[in-house]
Each structure stands twice: as C-alpha cells, then as structure tokens.
C-alpha cells in the first residue's frame, strides 16, 4: 500500500462530502504530500478524477475493493 501523510475517512458519506472533506484536508498539507481518501460513494470515482483535473492535484491512485474506494492524491 502506498504511503500517505494524512487520511480522510468518508465512508458512508454521499456527494459532495468526500470531495469537501478531501479539499479541507488538502488545505492543511504541503506541496508534494499525499492524502488518502476512503469512500463508499460510487460517484466519488468520477468526482475525484474531475476534482484532480480542475485543481491540479495529482490523483495517483484510484482503487476499489469490495465497494470501498481508495484514492491517493498528491498535493500540487
């Protein structure tokens, strides 16, 4: 499993909360640091791709395991 500096657990939360929680956590990180987000909202897969494209943060990993999604975002 990849290393990360901080984690947001958005399990059970629906749109737009995973993105909002992630954004808040990213605010507290330095450039190059990594945030891991855990979510169960299936819509979050496309949403984190769109989030990364629009904010410039790098979505380094997007994985699913049994209904749980894991995203690794490197702060720009």
């Amino acid at each position: 499993m990849a290393e990360f500096d901080e984690q947001v657990d958005a399990t059970g939360l629906n749109c737009p909360m995973p993105i909002l929680r992630a954004k808040k956590a990213l605010n507290g990180l330095h450039t190059g640091q990594r945030l891991q987000v855990i979510a169960t909202d299936p819509g979050s897969v496309r949403d984190f791709e769109a989030f990364a494209r629009q904010t410039g943060h790098a979505l380094e990993q997007s994985a699913e395991d049994n209904g749980t999604f894991r995203f690794l975002i490197r702060k720009a």
Binding site: P16, M17, L20, F51, Q54
Partner: protein
Amino acid sequence: MSEPKKLAIIATKGSLDWAYPPFILASTAAALGYEVRIFFTFYGLQLLRKNPDLQVTPLGNPGMPMPMGMDKWFPVLGTALPGMQKLMTAMMKKKMRDKGVVDLLELRELTREAGAKLIACQMTVDLFDFDKDDFIADTEIGGAATFLEFAGQADISLFI
C-alpha cells in the same frame, strides 16, 4: 495564478429538497477554486434563516416517490391531508440520514466556510418583512444590479 472561475446561482426555492442543489454546487465549486455567489430571492430566503424549518411536500409533486407504494393507491387529494407534509418531511430526513446525505445546515456552513458569498435579495427581504438579523452571519443584501455585475463575468450562471 490565472483568474478563478466564477459560479453565480439564483436560489428561489424554500423547501428542503430544493435547498440542496444550490449548496451542493456552491460548496463543490468553492472546493474546486471557483469564486461563488448565491443570490437568494423569494422563497429561497428561507435557506438563509438562522433556524429554518424546511419541509418537503408531496402536494403537486407527481415525481416524488412515496413509501410503501402510496403513490400508486393514494388519491392525489390525499397528499393534501393535514399532517402529510410533516410526515413526508420526517421520512425524507430519515432517508437522507440513512443514505449518508449531509445535513443541510452543515452543508450550508461548509459552503460559507469555503468562501461562497451569500446575498439576500433586497426587494424580497422587504416584501416579506425580513430583517438582516433573521439571516445567518455574513449574509449580504443586494439588488438585481449587484447580482448581474457578478453574473456578467461568471463562467456558470444557474437559476434554481
């Protein structure tokens, strides 16, 4: 950095269900770096009140799914029964909690925290005898020209 994108929203509805779209889009846009302003007018002003009592109604809303197949066998008039709105609101709130939909007031606070500007329409504030103190902190008051000045430069303008 380049000029941020801008999102302008007019929020005109004062029910619990219709309260979500403006705040979901505004908070997400702010998270994406947009400059956001929501202009609340007519019944949308309810969304700015300090302790709003927002409800959903099945009345005149044929698209609203009802529990236990009620929409199939319940006469349309039944949706106008006393207490039906309270019942549907309670059921909607429970369903939202069960599905992990964020509480509206929490979403509103997140929207505000993210820097979205909330503007109450002056004319309708006067029309309904509201006072600035009825609304949450940081609410600004403005007229149509105030909105259009911002919307004229906005990348997205929505009427909700």
